[in-house]
């Protein structure tokens, strides 16, 4: 505040009084008119008058330059109960309480789900909650996309004023300015030519989503002039909406200067079963594997390639094997992985994928061959082959380290539809229990389908009866809290009641289990409430 300049009454400017006070009246006598009082008292009298005068005379200051107002948010406001829920979820910041969770739900872990629901309904974030939302997203990168989508344009407006939230501007290209659509060719061309790398990637991704050809043509227009690492990232955006029409462009990229660009182009082409590259790879791969009918049972024999010729290399085969792997099996793996899976049926006399996978493989090549087929099935998103390679969930080798690792299984599962996936994992858990299931559960659709949910709950119940401690299953428990269908809560109630400890149980485990089940039911109820609160009236 600006005070009125002192002039009248005491006759002494304020600065003069301060200087005298600082030095002391013994050292500096006040030049003012003698009031008959002691010098320090006279000084205090004058200062008191001045202080009150200065305070009473405060005036507003000149306004600074106002920021542009944030763009209006046209989305509907949250229902009041949902807004209150959001405040509670955000108030539960990690690291403030510490210690055991007890029966209380982990609210922060429910925020992603809440945000996904709110975004699905298209609600606007309450403005006063934005700072807490941005703080939460600042600490957890995995929350950022959902938070920024929910928080909308006003969050970016805020982020420009507070350096703590700069991440929001990095995540949102163009500082939140809307990307030009395909109907604005002039703006598209300008942004493509002048934009920052992140903006250009975002532009390409957005265009690709609307018109794959438009995006490809835009990329082709400046392709030779781009830097190698940029070319790699741009090429990656073609993964979405990949189609036969992209083949000529990708074929051209096979001759790229950069090895990584060549490899990515080859990978994309091999995902197009009708492409010329796929045909070349099919030819090479089928030449390496044959059915030997000379012995009693038909057996697959493998003759891995003897060299990596320039043609193979041009089609993306990496010539140099990583340490510890034979060159020939390394090349074979790449050829089989890139060959369209459809060719094997023709090669092996019309056998189905199941029949092919069931064939014995000579000379320890099974691991290599099946592994390559798995990668091919994932890359080509071939559900039939995935099913064959996964086998029945209840087979003994499905649980142990077989030809197909758990990580590969999780990827294969991702190519199946939601229901089939859930059923397979349910079968797996029914046979093998929960200890290996975490990774597989992670690829299942949320909320879990009823058979899967039941399998998980039953397996947890069995684990409790076996007398282990619940924290051995804390990963699955946490997933169950977030993914189990809230409707399952009813079935859990008996489990949450404190049970008698089985004879061979670890001491105290029963109490911890009922606590864990209580937290599970509480969390499920809370999720049901959350969903109800967000449902538009």
């Amino acid at each position: 505040m600006t005070g009125t300049s002192s002039a009248a009454s005491s006759g002494l400017p304020w600065e003069e009084l301060v200087t005298t006070a600082l030095l002391g009246t013994d050292r500096r006598t006040s030049p003012g008119p003698g009031s008959g009082r002691e010098a320090p008292v006279a000084l205090l009298d004058a200062a008191a008058v001045e202080t009150v005068r200065r305070r009473a005379g405060i005036r507003p200051v000149r306004a600074a330059v106002r920021p542009e107002p944030a763009a209006a948010d046209g989305r509907p406001a949250l229902p009041p109960a949902a807004a209150r829920r959001l405040a509670t979820l955000l108030a539960d910041r990690p690291g403030t309480g510490g210690g055991r969770r007890g029966t209380a739900p982990d609210l922060m872990e429910l925020l992603p789900q809440w945000l996904a629901l709110a975004n699905a309904y298209g609600y606007a974030a309450p403005p006063e909650a934005l700072p807490a939302l941005l703080d939460a997203a600042r600490g957890r990168t995995d929350l950022r996309p959902a938070v920024l989508a929910f928080a909308g344009a006003r969050a970016l407006w805020l982020a420009r004023l507070n350096t703590d939230w700069r991440f929001a501007l990095r995540a949102a290209p163009g500082g939140g300015a809307a990307l030009p659509g395909p109907d604005e060719p002039e703006r598209v061309r300008r942004l493509w030519q002048e934009g920052l790398f992140a903006e250009r990637v975002a532009l390409l991704t957005a265009l690709r989503a609307h018109g794959p050809a438009t995006a490809r043509e835009l990329l082709a227009s400046t392709w030779p002039a781009e830097r190698a690492e940029d070319r790699l990232m741009f090429l990656d955006t073609l993964r979405a909406g990949l189609a036969a029409a992209d083949e000529p462009f990708l074929e051209g990229a096979l001759a790229d200067r950069s090895r990584n660009v060549r490899a990515t182009a080859a990978e994309l082409l091999s995902a197009l079963p009708s492409s010329a590259l796929a045909a070349r790879m099919a030819q090479r791969a089928t030449a390496c594997v044959a059915v030997d009918r000379t012995s009693g049972t038909p057996t697959l024999v493998v003759e891995a390639p003897h060299e990596c010729d320039p043609g193979m290399e041009r089609d993306g085969v990496q010539p140099k094997a990583p340490a510890g792997r034979g060159e020939r099996s390394w090349w074979l793996g790449q050829l089989v992985e890139a060959a369209p899976l459809g060719v094997w049926s023709r090669r092996f006399g019309g056998r189905t994928p199941e029949e092919i996978v069931a064939l014995p493989v000579a000379d320890d090549w099974q691991g290599e061959l099946h592994g390559a087929w798995c990668r091919a099935a994932v890359r080509q998103r071939d559900a039939g082959w995935s099913r064959a390679l996964l086998g029945a969930p209840s087979t003994p080798e499905a649980g142990g380290p077989g030809a197909v690792s758990l990580a590969e299984r999780a990827k294969l599962l991702a190519t199946l539809d939601d229901g089939e996936r859930a059923e397979w994992v349910a079968g797996f858990i029914g046979t093998h229990g929960l200890s290996e299931a975490f990774q597989l559960l992670g690829v299942c659709a949320v909320p879990w389908a009823p058979p899967l949910g039941r399998a998980v709950v039953d397996a947890l119940d069995i684990a409790r009866d076996a007398g282990s401690y619940p924290w051995s299953f804390s990963g699955v428990m946490g997933l169950a809290e977030r993914c189990l269908d809230p409707a399952e809560a009813v079935r859990l109630d008996p489990l949450a009641a404190a049970a008698e400890e089985p004879e061979n149980a670890a001491p105290g485990a029963g109490g911890y289990w009922s606590e864990a089940f209580q937290r599970l039911t509480t969390t499920l109820r809370l999720r049901a409430t959350m969903q109800a609160e967000l449902t538009p009236l």
């Binding site: 301060v18 013994d26 050292r27 202080t51 009150v52 507003p60 306004a63 109960a81 108030a91 209380a104």
Partner: protein, 455 residues
């Protein structure tokens, strides 16, 4: 009590929490899981059984509608007040998701409630009798007051001497003397039964370490302390109003004997400040009919929340009585006739220029005022270098925010709420700047925005 079905918001419940840990613990209990037999009655009582670590669940009851403020009762051993169970139960109730259905209070709750009502009735009759008893021996009371006045006079005289010595030797020397000197002087003022003087003296000790410009601030505060000393020493010659202000500033707060004003009071803001001994809660009220602004003070021992708590943004019918002193805003809450309910009442706002003038005018009655409560209408928070200001939407004038307001999280809630468009802000306007306490967005036609607490 006709406030059927009015539930508080989660923020209003959390405002009752004595500390951050309770707030967190309470939020965790705000789920149906640990609760059984929860319910609420039309009379504004909420109850429930909360499963704790023991075998017997805790019995938790809250009387929300009590005219003397919410009352809590819980069988848990916590010394926090209200405890996490009471907070969790209220949050569950506020969530309004069917976990706390309307119903008849169980026996254990009913017992406590009827006990309370009986005691409340008794208290009313007793206070009536007690006020008669206090005036029984006016002679003795007068003598006691005289003795205390003499002590304060001695203290004020001694303080004058210290200030004179300080100014003689110079403030620069005081910088080296440090805290000790002031602490000792403050202790002398406590002995002199002048807590108002003691508090001011203690604050003097912190000024030399408060950054650039400290000599100006130290001189200002010394001069105002001198002014207060002089006011006390010559209080007989002051006009009545000013003399009463001097009394209360010295630490003789007197009793709230102003005429009770009945009104619908909107809780504008509530915030706590604490030192090592005491938590002070300030609650600002706005009278819907009278247009008056009143300040309620409530104290709690260190670590405990002051007992009085009013949910910001809600209004209730009550009587308040002012403390003595010209322009005195401090008041005591008398009888409350209704429980707090959401209300469309908003304090009328002024411009930044008018706000500054109001503070200036208020200094006429009380020159020791650091700030004065005002509501600013149509202002926009605007960054100004490292600091912030509230800019008038319709002119080029602005009020800077106080340095402490800049570092509070509430600032960002205010900025987010505004989004660069005008908002209404209630706060304290003073010589250090403006401290925003509560804000309202400009609602959509007719329905003003909800109160957003910034402190």
């Amino acid at each position: 009590m006709t406030q059927q079905g009015v539930r508080w918001t989660a923020e209003q419940v959390l405002a009752m929490a004595p500390d951050a840990a309770s707030r967190k613990a309470g939020s965790k209990l705000a789920v149906a899981g640990p609760w059984s037999q929860a319910g609420t009655s039309d009379e504004g009582t909420v109850w429930g059984l909360c499963k704790g670590s023991g075998s017997k669940p805790y019995q938790t009851i809250v009387d929300v509608a009590d005219s003397a403020g919410p009352a809590y009762k819980c069988s848990c051993p916590s010394r926090k007040f209200p405890c996490k169970h009471a907070l969790g139960l209220l949050l569950l109730w506020a969530g309004d998701d069917g976990a706390v259905p309307p119903g008849q209070a169980p026996d254990w709750a009913e017992q406590w409630l009827s006990g309370r009502r009986a005691r409340a009735a008794e208290r009313t009759t007793r206070t009536g009798a007690a006020s008669g008893a206090a005036s029984a021996d006016p002679e003795a009371a007068r003598r006691r007051a005289e003795r205390r006045a003499e002590r304060i006079t001695a203290g004020a005289t001694e303080l004058e001497q210290r200030l004179t010595d300080l100014l003689r030797g110079g403030l620069a020397a005081a910088e080296q003397a440090g805290y000790g000197l002031w602490e000792e002087t403050a202790a002398r003022m406590v002995d002199a039964q002048a807590p108002g003087l003691a508090a001011r003296v203690r604050e003097l000790g912190a000024i030399p370490g408060s950054g650039p410009g400290w000599p100006v601030r130290l001189l200002e505060e010394c001069a105002l302390l001198h002014l207060l000393d002089q006011g006390w020493l010559r209080r007989e010659r002051l006009p009545d109003g000013l003399a009463a202000t001097v009394h209360s500033r010295v630490g003789l707060s007197g009793s709230p004997d102003g005429p009770p004003v009945r009104d619908r009071w909107l809780a504008l803001a509530q915030y706590d400040t604490s030192d090592s001994h005491l938590t002070t809660r300030r609650i600002w009220l706005h009278g819907a009919e009278s247009g008056r602004t009143a300040l309620l003070l409530s104290y709690g021992a260190a670590g405990r929340a002051p007992e009085l708590s009013l949910p910001v943004g809600l209004a209730f019918e009550a009587e308040v009585s002012a403390y003595p002193g010209a322009g005195q805003l401090r008041a005591a809450l008398g009888e409350r006739f209704t429980a707090p309910v959401p209300a469309a009442v908003r304090p009328p706002g002024v411009t930044p220029a008018e706000a500054a003038a109001r503070y200036g005018e208020a200094l006429r009655d009380d020159p020791w005022l650091d700030s004065y409560p005002v509501t600013l209408a149509r202002v926009i928070p605007v960054p100004d270098g490292d600091s912030w200001q509230l800019t008038d939407a319709d002119s080029d004038l602005a009020l800077p925010l106080t340095p402490s307001a800049r570092s509070r999280p509430g600032l960002w809630r205010l900025v987010a709420l505004s989004g660069g468009t005008p908002v209404t802000v209630f706060g304290e306007c003073g010589h250090r700047g403006f401290t925003p306490l509560t804000a309202w967005a400009e609602g959509t036609e007719g329905t003003p925005g909800q109160a957003v607490a910034l402190c």
